[in-house]
């Protein structure tokens, strides 16, 4: 056990950086960018340190930092991570510097005189709060970060959105999340009163509740997470927010922030309310399945690139959902790995779409067409991102999708078969999107946009290269990540939930 307070620093450093940036004058835009980049690189170095300090085969929870906060309510600043949380924290640490680089020219490209330092301050604040959500093991602390996280994202969408409907999207995002958060608040209060006036996760896991109390509290948490994830039918805010937000912020929204929902289901719904989880699992699987098919079908029909990517995410979250609620270690590990891989793949896709939209000045598919001839490199990256998104073997999402389907098939064949349809549809929406934008005859209007003639710049290459590298690496060799994830998933399912994996049937027959 290392004494170095990794998690405390990981939460406080970005927040401190945001505070410093908030005092930058408007004119110091360039300096603010450099400052944000250096700062997030330091945070990234810390996440690497945390990853190395974490012993893959050791205790379930590690790197614990614990400070008193409100003793009267039993609230403490308790940070600790299991394998699942560690993976998500690492994803944040990796993505945010890339997003800072990707945002280099985002703010200036917007109409109106908007503050550059404020944009990066919001980004850093968001980073700190997101790490806090994943690192907290005090339920109230989790709730605090969960809600507070909305505020910077709201301003990122509302103030820096490119879309005409950005205000509408920002308010919709905030209200949806707040509604979910308040349901969760009711459940948190119930948990505190019934669980013996404590917020400590480890104590609450041991607590016993009556059947109905458990079910109601499960629903309170589940609704909040289902809105955040988002699962069908709570998803309508995501396409609006995803299309209105500036592309780098949208990448962060979809790649990391939405994972709070699925992470929350694993850590809080399953562990705290095991019986209710089993009771509601069919419902959750049904919602996830509908999400897979519905999200994919709507993605096929979209004319706006950012909305399209948002809908693909809804389909992907369906996969994560069935992976979690199948209650097998294989599917569970697949789901957690999917959370990481989806973050990488969809993050990449959103960033590339952002490059395209910044060049063309429009996100409408009709405004592209044959663009591959003008920007071959960018088009190639776009293709790789698309392939990763449809889970082509050799890219990392394939491993996770395969694990999920394998795990689900062992317990419920029907669900697995229906979910497989989602893969077919994924091929349809990705390939058709690529075809309509990059291939075919060149759209003559593109020739008149000078920016469309500039291929991938060095800055943009620096953003996409690490992501592509990781997607390919984890596609062939996911073991380092699975080693971290597997014990945590196993502990969640066997210790907290009390289910054991079904014995493989083919072996039994022999």
């Amino acid at each position: 056990m290392s004494k170095f307070p990794f998690l405390t620093l990981l939460v406080t450093l970005p927040l401190l950086g945001a505070l410093i940036l908030a005092f930058f004058p408007r004119s110091a835009g360039e300096l603010a960018k450099r400052f944000a980049l250096v700062w997030t690189l330091v945070v990234f170095a810390l996440t690497v340190g945390a990853w190395l300090a974490f012993k893959a085969g050791g205790d379930r929870f590690q790197l614990k930092d614990d400070y008193p906060w409100i003793p009267q309510w039993g609230v403490r600043f308790t940070f600790e991570v299991d394998g699942i949380a560690l993976v998500m924290v690492a994803l944040i640490g990796l993505l945010v510097p890339l997003i800072v680089v990707a945002s280099w020219k985002t703010v200036e490209a917007l109409d109106g005189n908007r503050s550059v330092p404020a944009y990066f301050a919001l980004l850093l604040a968001l980073q700190g709060m997101m790490i806090g959500v994943f690192a907290a093991s005090d339920v109230l602390l989790f709730y605090v970060f969960f809600e507070a996280m909305l505020v910077p994202m709201y301003f990122l969408i509302g103030s820096y959105g490119s879309h005409q409907r950005r205000q509408y999207a920002a308010v919709k995002f905030f209200l949806y999340s707040l509604v979910g958060g308040l349901f969760m608040l009711a459940a948190v209060i119930g948990l505190w009163v019934l669980g013996g006036n404590t917020f400590d996760w480890h104590t609450l896991v041991e607590a016993e509740f009556t059947t109905w109390a458990e079910r109601w509290m499960f629903l309170g948490f589940f609704v909040a997470f289902a809105i955040k994830a988002p699962f069908f039918p709570f998803h309508t805010w995501l396409p609006d927010a995803g299309s209105a937000a500036p592309a780098p912020a949208a990448a962060l929204l979809v790649a990391v922030m939405d994972k709070v929902g699925t992470f929350g289901i694993l850590r809080y719904c399953l562990s705290l309310f095991p019986n209710a989880s089993k009771y509601f699992a069919p419902l959750a699987i049904a919602l996830a399945l509908v999400g897979i098919i519905y999200g994919a079908l709507l993605a096929v029909g979209q004319n706006d690139l950012k909305r399209l990517v948002s809908y693909t995410s809804i389909a992907h979250f369906g996969f994560i959902g069935i992976g979690i609620f199948a209650f097998t270690t294989q599917a569970g590990s697949g789901a957690v790995l999917y959370m990481l891989n989806h973050g990488l793949a969809t993050g990449l896709l959103f960033l590339v779409v952002g490059f395209l939209v910044a060049r063309r000045g429009s996100a409408s598919i009709k405004d592209f067409g044959g663009a591959g001839k003008l920007v071959p490199w960018l088009s190639g990256v776009f293709f790789i991102a698309g392939m990763a998104s449809l889970a082509l073997p050799g890219t990392s999402p394939f491993v996770s999708e395969f694990l999920v389907l394998l795990g689900v098939f062992a317990v419920n064949k029907t669900v697995a078969v229906i979910a497989t349809l989602g893969i077919v549809l994924a091929a349809a929406y990705v390939l058709w999107m690529y075809q309509r934008t990059m291939q075919g005859t060149l759209n003559p209007a593109l020739n008149e946009v000078p920016a469309m003639k500039k291929d991938l710049s060095v800055r943009e290459l620096a953003v996409v290269a690490p992501l592509i590298g990781l997607i390919l690496f984890l596609g062939f060799y996911p073991k380092p990540v699975l080693d971290v994830i597997n014990p945590a998933v196993q502990a969640t399912f066997t210790q907290d939930l009390g289910v054991s994996d079904p014995a493989p049937k083919s072996e039994a027959k022999k």
């Binding site: 906060w69 409100i70 003793p71 009267q72 309510w73 109106g112 709730y143 605090v144 809600e147 507070a148 909305l150 505020v151 301003f155 509302g158 103030s159 950005r166 205000q167 920002a170 308010v171 905030f174 209200l175 707040l178 509604v179 308040l182 349901f183 608040l185 009711a186 209060i189 119930g190 505190w192 009163v193």
Partner: protein, 510 residues
């Protein structure tokens, strides 16, 4: 028959006696001191009196000796002292707002409200320094409120009710700007207040008929042992409740609130929103917890329905408002509902967290009205919401502060709004009023919308030509604003001290 003077513990009464004395002195100052000097004498006099009164409250709280004095008319106990202290502290902050003279020559008050605006007499009046009767009136009101919280029988309570109500009726009518609105508000408040007082007095008579006593201890004993008709008790309690619920602005006795909040001079609105609420709930808490605790089975369902209606009606009507003062008025109605939820828990936590909520809400609402005072143009305050569009671009500092206050009202974590709501909701779950908590959570969602709309208006709208500027606050308003915002933050982030205080206050003395 000989009449024996009751023993009086003057030290226990000192906080109130100081204020009553200073108020009388203030009346003399207005009669004797030359007009130019009055302001400079009155403000320090009031401030010193309040500070001395606060000092006595602290001394008494440290004495930890709870007494019933003045022939059992007044009781000085922990919760009573906490409420008195809150009234004094909030009163000092409100006094800062009342004493502000930099925003408007002569302050927000007019000497002869009956003079037609714009007439020759009015212009003459404008040139003279503003009215100073407001200070003694405020002191009378504050002393009355303190007595209201520590009355030990219904008659003393009634006297205190009148002592603090009458100055408020007058203060409402003294607005320099929009004089007719102000006078309308005062008349409405006075008439409805008189009705409510009549109900209260009638209730006292009924209770006396039932119990043969008016002191709380006697009533409490009678509820247990009296053989008189229970109908008498219930009618009496209902009448009493109407009188008290009028003051706390609970539905359906809330109709005066929006008109009075809008019409009254803004410092007085702030004063009423913060201090009257503390006093009214202090009285309600004492009546319900001390005198009628044993008939809680009778009143909890009815008052529960009223609390639910208050939360929902306040929240829904707040959505439709276009004037910031009316919006805050309906928000104050909804907050009365949350306070009632805490009150109806009928347990230790209910008492504790209702008191905590009162203080937290008081500071936030004072700061909010301080900013309302600052947003103005040549016609005075610009209260119409459309005028606030784009304020964030004009005055980012004040818009940020107001955003913070709005988030506090919406109950976002890390603000006092969250800790306060958490407290009362947790108490209500503990007191088996979970259904009220669910309604509270649902209404919080509705209520978040109007607050968010203000934030959207300020930040995401483009400033128009008629967007008013934010005046530079004088030292007084700046101090009030600072205290309000700082307390909203402190009570949200580190509420330990305040929770310790409400915890130490203990229970009511019977």
């Amino acid at each position: 028959m000989t009449f024996k003077l009751p023993a009086i513990d003057y030290l226990a009464l000192a906080p109130m006696l100081v204020l009553f004395g200073a108020a009388c002195a203030g009346v003399l100052v207005d009669a004797l001191v030359p007009r130019e000097w009055r302001y400079h004498v009155q403000v320090p006099l009031s401030l010193v009196a309040l500070l001395a009164s606060g000092g006595f409250v602290v001394a008494l709280a440290n004495r930890k000796e709870h007494v019933v004095t003045a022939g059992s008319a007044v009781v000085i106990d922990g919760p009573g002292l906490f409420l008195q202290g809150s009234i004094v502290v909030l009163g000092i902050v409100a006094l800062f707002l009342v004493a502000e003279r930099r925003l408007e020559p002569g302050g927000a008050f007019v000497a002869q409200a009956a003079v037609v605006a714009g007439s020759e007499a009015d212009r003459k009046q404008m040139r003279k320094p503003g009215v100073t009767e407001v200070y003694p009136m405020m002191l009378f009101a504050l002393a009355g409120m303190m007595l209201f919280c520590s009355a030990n029988d219904l008659l003393t309570m009634f006297v205190a009710l009148e002592v603090f109500s009458l100055p408020l009726y007058l203060l409402c009518a003294l607005a320099r700007r929009r004089r007719l609105l102000s006078q309308e508000a005062a008349v409405k408040y006075f008439l409805l207040g008189a009705f409510a007082s009549a109900f209260f007095l009638y209730g006292v008579a009924m209770i006396y008929g039932y119990a043969g006593k008016v002191d709380f201890r006697g009533i409490n004993e009678a509820v247990l042992g009296s053989s008189n008709s229970k109908t008498l008790l219930l009618i009496g309690l209902a009448m009493l409740a109407i009188g008290l619920l009028f003051k706390v602005a609970a539905v359906p006795f809330h109709v005066w609130t929006p008109d009075v909040y809008q019409g009254a001079p803004t410092p007085i609105t702030a004063f009423m929103a913060a201090c009257t609420k503390v006093a009214a709930f202090g009285g309600l808490l004492r009546v319900l917890y001390v005198a009628f605790e044993r008939s809680s089975w009778d009143f909890r369902p009815t008052l529960g329905v009223i609390a639910a209606a208050t939360m929902i009606v306040g929240a829904v009507l707040a959505v439709t408002q276009t004037d910031i003062k009316r919006l805050l008025a309906y928000s104050s109605v909804a907050n009365a509902g949350y306070l009632l939820t805490g009150t109806l828990s009928m347990n230790r936590d209910g008492l504790k967290y209702t008191m905590f909520y009162l203080v937290a809400y008081g500071f936030t609402v004072l700061a909010a009205f301080a900013i309302v005072m600052l947003v103005r143009d040549s016609d005075g305050e610009a209260t119409h919401l459309a005028r606030w569009a784009g304020l964030g671009r004009r005055s980012p500092v004040f818009a940020s502060l107001f955003t913070f206050l709005m988030l506090a009202f919406a109950g976002i974590p890390l603000t006092s709004g969250f800790t306060a709501k958490f407290g009362v909701f947790a108490a209500a779950v503990g007191g088996n009023m979970t259904w009220l908590v669910i309604i509270g959570v649902l209404s919080s969602m509705i209520l978040a919308f109007p607050y968010l709309r203000v934030v959207v208006l300020m930040w995401l709208s483009v400033p128009g030509d008629d967007t008013p500027t934010v005046s530079v606050p004088g030292a007084f308003t700046a101090a009030a604003l600072f205290v309000g915002v700082a307390m909203t933050l402190v009570l949200g982030v580190a509420p330990n001290q305040a929770l310790e205080l409400v915890n130490d206050a203990g229970a009511f003395l019977r």
